[in-house]
Amino acid sequence: MKRRPQLNHDELHQLRWLLGGGLVLLSTATVFYMEIDAWTLMFVTAAAVGAVMFWPTLPARVPAWVHRLAFPVIVAFFLGDLYLTGELLPPIVRLDILLLLYRGISYRQRRDDLQIIVLGLFLVVVAGVLSVSLVFALQIVAFTACALAFLLNLTLADASGVKAAGDAGRGPPPWAVQVQWGRLFRRLREVLDWRVVTLGALLFAGVVGVSALLFLAIPRFQLENSLFLERFMTRKARTGFSDSIKFGDVTDILQDNSLALSVDITDPTQVPAQPYWRMVVLDEYRDGTFRLSTALRAATFSPERGDVQLRGVARAQPEEPVYWTFYLEAGVSRYLPLTGRFVQLRFRERQNFRFADRLGLVVLRDEPVSMTAYRVEGLMAMDVIPDRQMGAWLERATESGAEQTSAALKLELGADDLGRLARVVAEIKAGMEPDVEEFSRRAVAWLQARHRYSLQSRAPPGAGDPLVRWLDSSEPGHCELYAGALVLLARQAGYPARIVTGFKGGSWNGFSNNFTVRNSDAHAWCEVYDAAVAGWRRVDPTPGGSADTGSDTTAAGAAGERRIDRSWSARIDSLRVFWYRRIVNFDSRTQEEALRAVKSATQESGRRVRAALEDALARLKAWMAEPWDLRRLLQLAGGAAAAVALAWLLRNARLAWRDRGMFWRRRTAQDPVRREAGRWLGRLQGLPVEPALRADLERLRYGPLAGRPPLAPVVRRARQAWRARHEARITREN
């Protein structure tokens, strides 16, 4: 019979050491996505703990005074950090990592091991709450597995009764001296047979399953709002999508291929083949920088309010509304990407925001530190953003002949630059007086004929405004330069124009069936006010963009055009979308839906089983009611014989299985006499029992079958002896 080898104490200790170090490394890796400045500390911890994991004798070389000084130094570090940073959470996280570092590089007693689990769990959970990212899901799963293995190991080491040796300054414990990792892993492979692995997997699945059940069943509450963790942190935003943009800002974002936005749409045919996700509108141009002018901000943005939903200006359609669910990654912008007007916008949790219905923009008060989810009902993909107020204002301005005060018309340039612009505009107009649409088309054609698209671009040297210099040269340029140049030209021609930044296009994720926009889809384009349609017409002068301003190609019309992404990154993104859809965005409404689905499924299957039973019963009754003849009797007998044969086969198979010792290892357990005698021997162990009784019990337990005394009298005597001792003890205690 093959025997399963077991790890000895030293190997258990070595494994414990490895798992503990692994837990430290795993939990400090949270720094990667937490965006707390602890990089140095993390790398120091990773290097030190990694080294100590590999060479476990190293901690013995740390002099004893280090251990004595460790606590005061850590406390001083924390207090200093707290004083210097002024925030609460980052110092706590750094303190946690520091403690992990200290625990990771010294020999641990059992409570130190438990401390590692608690400290690590704190880090992982804080990181998870701060950034509801997919990495957190993977990490908590890995952490759970590692911690389970670690606890199991602790229990085993404890059960084997050897203290976790190792004290500061007393030299390395024996297990650390004779460490051979290769040997340990070979031994682990020997020990890990399918039973252990199955048991471990079952345990792990159990923990994960129970967590999933709890997740499904417990009432929903807003973790962020209850913990206020976000308040303890500040965070830097990308500059590309803020309300002031220098040239090159958007292009910087283009370099980043990570996910920016995922959109779920209940009716995918509603998405245009090349949607423009508007985020920021910038109307003021001065010194090479586009800004959102204070006047426009004051005129269009509502006062800040905190709410979970927001009613838009679009009117609800009578047919089934289309819902767009946006998952905006952390760190993209405070401005929410939208394609136009909408009926209603609903946040996952309460947000503080401002809304500009004229611009079609929504801006949050704070840069979100975690993914922001919002659901928009009846969002329209618009090429023209209606703005009647602008038309009214323009009319008034022309009538009164007053000084032009709209930032969308202002050209704060030197006379030289204005002259150059005027020359170009005259060239574009070619003596005619075209309408907005025609002018835009001509200006775009002019720009594209003159400049080549390139991400590497520079304004030619010289005096005056850099944008005008570029415009007048033949240097290649990127989307911001194209858009900026068109805005200047339009304003020179007398049409109000502004820059819009956001994302253009995106791809359709073939795995999770949603729209995916990456940071590399960042784009800048223009909107020129067209009095004929009383709105801002989108003009995208960048080559490769759809230069035509009017055609509304939806996905339904141009399904072939749409980029369907089936790459590996799309696969990973789909996992992320699943995480957002099903886990993060799992609110009370979805919970109710899920529970209702479970309930109806259970009821349905119960009903089916009952129906099947009733059906079978009815058939049996009908069969019984039929007249009996020889054929039916034979059938019955044959069926019964088959059932008996099957039972007999099963029983034999089970016995054979058991004899192989796969499940029932202790064969003695099959002999009830031996088992009973063994039980009494164990019970009487250490008690002064008459030798004859003990000999009889031993013979029953270990002796040959032949010549063994009858069990019952021996057990009776054993019981008497045991009772006598027992009662004697009770009287003695009383």
């Binding site: 000895n8 031994r187 003695t668 063994g678 270990y702 040959p704």
Partner: protein, 323 residues
């Protein structure tokens, strides 16, 4: 192995063993434990390696055992110039019969004391191998059986290493047990001092059992019943020595068999026809210690012996007794 041993046989065996024990106690003072271990070894039909300093009664022990069993005793002092022929015997050309005649060596006895075995060269040591394993000597293709019963008492001094050839592992494996004598208690030593006897030749002991009795005992020991869970327990111990990181290598299959045989013999010595787990635990160190080497050898032999014993003790403590 028959399942059935007559109760009378068992009690007779116990009575024989008790007679031998009492007889040997006349000359071996205060070493009851050692005497018992030697008796177990005799009943199991194994060979003994006694490790101790000179002059603690090793020869006396062997001689009084031989006397008690009415057996031939011979003693070979192993030295570095001892030749294999000196142990086994040689074939000499006999003029009178005009052919080679085998002259039996000292190994042709029942109890052979191989004193300071590690002083001889490996060639001579290995000459003992066949005798110990098969109880016969082959010279010039002719096998000559040695005495029956046959038992080798080898002694060696663990402290002195100058000019010795440590026994190879294959030969170590052929000894059933390794014993330590140790100094007697002060009271027992006083009694020894009081006695006027000097040297083992002066020992006058009567034979209490015959050679045939001993052979019967050995045959009976093989029939002692070992229950499945006890076998399982032995196997667990053997496996544990193989997976133990402190040992260079585990116990061989022969080692496991030796433990079983010794446990059967001990059961018989105690007058039982079945083996208890206690028989096994009592013998583990005696049967296994000399078969195991540390993965990291220490420079000092005594320290190594202690370390091996400690690890064995730990292993046995960690394995639950079959209940």
């Amino acid at each position: 192995m028959s399942d059935f041993v007559q109760a009378g046989q068992i009690s007779a065996a116990k009575e024989m063993v008790e007679r031998m024990r009492a007889n040997m106690r006349q000359t071996i003072k205060g070493k009851d434990e050692v005497v018992e271990q030697v008796l177990v070894c005799v009943v199991a039909g194994g060979h003994l390696l006694i490790e101790d300093l000179p002059g603690v009664g090793k020869t006396t022990l062997a001689y009084s055992l031989a006397r008690s069993m009415d057996c031939d005793f011979s003693r070979v002092q192993f030295t570095s110039d001892l030749l294999p022929g000196d142990v086994t015997g040689v074939a000499i050309y006999d003029e009178t019969v005009k052919e080679f005649v085998f002259k039996k060596g000292p190994v042709f006895a029942n109890v052979v004391l191989a004193d300071e075995i590690n002083r001889a060269t490996p060639k001579t040591q290995s000459a003992l191998l066949e005798v110990m394993d098969r109880a016969r000597v082959t010279v010039d293709g002719v096998a000559h059986p040695v005495g029956a019963p046959f038992m080798v008492f080898a002694t060696q001094n663990p402290v002195d290493y100058e000019g010795t050839f440590p026994l190879p592992e294959s030969q170590m494996d052929r000894f059933l047990m390794r014993l330590q004598m140790g100094y007697p208690e002060s009271g027992d030593e006083l009694e020894i001092l009081r006695s006027t006897r000097a040297g083992y030749d002066a020992i006058r002991l009567n034979a209490v059992v015959t050679r045939e009795d001993v052979l019967k005992l050995q045959a009976l020991a093989g029939e002692v019943f070992v229950e499945e869970s006890v076998l399982d327990y032995i196997l667990k111990i053997v496996t544990a020595t193989r997976t133990e990181a402190d040992f260079r290598a585990g116990v061989s299959v022969r080692g496991g068999l030796a433990l079983r045989t010794a446990a059967q013999a001990r059961a018989l010595v105690y007058g039982r026809d079945f083996v208890l787990p206690d028989d096994v635990t009592a013998l583990v160190a005696l049967v296994f210690a000399h078969r195991l080497g540390l993965a990291r050898p220490t420079s000092d032999a005594l320290e190594e012996r202690r370390a091996v014993a400690a690890v064995l003790k730990r292993i046995v403590a960690a394995i639950p007794l079959p209940v």
